[in-house]
């Protein structure tokens, strides 16, 4: 992570055109090769070697650039060790020195994560387990240990939580409020919390429980424990559940629990499940419609705010899309989604299935739509760049944009591509400037398409708030400046992309599905 930060700083050094500072893993060497930065020495590097590869602009002395980057490395080392509670090299020592600890955040590699989580649970701490690749048997065992000790084990694979207003993991700076969220979907919680914030609502607590909590083996145990906490919390008036649709057995179990153990209104967004209402329980198909439902349940003023700030009209989308598609060549027919957020990518796949028929993916909705090679798109494709294939030995794309920048340039060369859709996830833990790190590549992609006599429509959704460290407004402006068309929600962006790529021929299907998708 420190090296990634040094890489970003190195790119800003005067005279440096491109730079990579990374360990010599095979994934990093592959990326350097794609960037034209893999030298003979770089090829010979091993996982234990630090590679510093730099391309300098004309009239810049390589030695000067290298010296500047080396001093960046030195300053990173010197700044190690922190304020607050300090830095320790063992859990026991940290516990001895930080009195009153009540939450641990664990982001070790999967192999080490279970042991650390167990040690922390035994010490009486609630645990937010960000790490994934934890064996399911370990998850079941750790959750039993947590339950026995009256503790939370959020995760494994818990990307986001909002506890007492503090963002844990990848989380946005959003207003506190009366809506309690339990999410088995990290960017799902981020999208819901920023949309609630945008319409003047807020989150009392947001618990990320990790996607495998709702697997058949785990059975939604932590989701139900968190719902019980929120039901008993005086600061929570409305409950929201956000998850990719679990299997039918787990859904029945969780919703039966909701019926027995809760009394507050519930908005359940099991992505893709048909919208309906049963008494105080309201099902929503998308993140967008779940927040709209929560706004309507909160007050007419919040519902109105949602319509004004997040909801776009069908007519408005149709008319602007006509303008964007008018510059496309006949052969430009496909949508390419390059996502950093897994749940946002899943939401777009669901929407495209409803309105376009299907889309290929490395994380597809059905087996026949699996990309044979995740590095190569086919027809309509939505890629989750946070998936293991792209992150093995690399930082997550929400932190490091390298893989997405290269993929965007690759898509721009494909003359069948009409629209590229991108998410920009802001918040604590995320990259310092997600828009800025992509802006140059977006401009280059559009320029490359133009050089080939084509227009390339690039759409974006910024999942962020005004209070985020990166600032929603600042990020939006950076993107608009390079010609990105922005949408207030991911769902709206996916619908607009379908309009543009199809030249409006899917309008009837969208009209038919509109209420379920964004109503």
């Amino acid at each position: 992570m420190q090296l990634m930060r040094v890489t970003e700083e190195a790119k800003k050094v005067a005279g440096v055109a491109d730079a990579v500072v990374a360990m010599g893993t095979s994934t990093n060497k592959m990326l350097m090769e794609q960037m034209g930065l893999l030298t003979v020495e770089g090829k010979a590097a091993t996982e234990n070697d630090l590679v510093l590869a730099v391309r300098v602009e004309e009239n810049t002395r390589l030695g000067d650039a290298l010296s500047s980057i080396e001093s960046l490395l030195t300053s990173q080392q010197e700044s190690g060790g922190g304020p607050a509670g300090g830095t320790y090299f063992g859990i026991a020592t940290a516990l001895e020195n930080l009195h009153g600890a009540n939450l641990a955040v664990v982001s070790l590699p999967g192999g080490q994560a279970s042991g650390a989580a167990e040690e922390l649970l035994k010490a009486g701490l609630n645990v937010h387990l960000f790490s994934d690749h934890v064996p399911i048997e370990d998850e079941v065992r750790l959750k039993k240990l947590a339950a026995k000790n009256g503790l939370l084990l959020l995760g494994p694979g818990a990307g986001t939580s909002l506890i007492n207003g503090v963002g844990v993991g990848f989380a946005n700076a959003v207003a506190r409020g009366k809506i309690g969220v339990v999410a088995a979907a990290g960017t799902g919680l981020q999208e819901v919390s920023v949309l609630l914030d945008r319409v003047g609502l807020g989150v009392s607590q947001g618990f990320g429980v990790g996607g495998t909590d709702i697997s058949r083996e785990v059975g939604g145990t932590m989701m139900m424990d968190c719902l019980r906490l929120l039901e008993d919390d005086d600061g929570t008036d409305l409950l929201m559940i956000v998850a990719k649709a679990p299997n039918a057995q787990v859904t029945r179990k969780v919703m039966s629990f909701v019926g027995r153990r809760t009394t507050k209104p519930v908005v359940a967004c099991f992505l893709g499940m048909e919208a309906s209402s049963e008494g105080r329980v309201h099902y929503s198909k998308t993140l967008h419609s779940a927040v709209f439902r929560a706004a309507r349940l909160s007050s007419p003023a919040h519902a109105k705010a949602f319509e004004e700030k997040v909801g776009l009209s069908l007519q408005g989308i149709a008319s602007s899309s006509k303008k964007y598609s008018s510059k496309l060549k006949t052969g430009q027919r496909y949508i390419r989604g390059l996502y950093t957020g897994g749940t946002l990518s899943h939401e777009s796949l669901l929407i495209l299935r409803e309105v376009m028929g299907s889309a290929y993916s490395n994380t597809p909705l059905s087996v026949e739509l699996q990309l044979q090679d995740p590095s190569t798109s086919k027809e309509h494709t939505i890629v989750d760049l946070g998936d293991e294939f792209f992150t093995a030995g690399r930082p997550h794309p929400m932190i490091d944009s390298t893989i997405r920048r290269l993929r965007l340039l690759q898509e721009a060369k494909d003359s069948s591509v009409a629209v590229v859709i991108l998410d920009f996830v802001l918040g604590y833990g995320c990259a310092e400037d997600p828009a800025g790190s992509m802006a140059g590549s977006i401009a280059a992609a559009k320029a490359a398409a133009k050089k080939s006599g084509r227009d390339l429509v690039v759409m974006g959704h910024v999942c962020g708030s005004s209070a985020d460290p990166q600032s929603l407004e600042k990020q939006s402006k950076e993107l608009a400046d390079v010609g990105v068309i922005l949408y207030p929600s991911n769902a709206m962006m996916a619908i607009a992309a379908a309009f543009v790529a199809s030249r409006g021929t899917v309008k009837e299907r969208i009209v038919e599905k509109w209420g379920g998708l964004v109503g």
């Binding site: 992570m1 930080l98 982001s107 042991g115 650390a116 922390l120 790490s131 968190c226």
Partner: protein, 58 residues
């Protein structure tokens, strides 16, 4: 059953032990949360042995 320590977490001041990525430690500092960073380059078992060995030396 998650009452007790889990229920007491709600509304309490968060005091966090961050084990792993420095970026999450930094985000806690930025949010003015009391936090300690645990860096564990090796397996936890080895860390315990190292820690015990260091305790003896120091």
């Amino acid at each position: 059953m998650v009452e007790s320590k889990a229920a007491r977490l709600i509304g309490a001041e968060l005091v966090v032990i961050n084990v792993g990525l420095d970026i999450f430690y930094q985000s806690m500092v930025r949010q003015k949360v009391r936090v300690a960073q645990v860096s564990m380059p090796a397996g936890p078992g080895l860390e315990k042995r190292l820690s015990a060995a260091l305790d003896k030396i120091l």
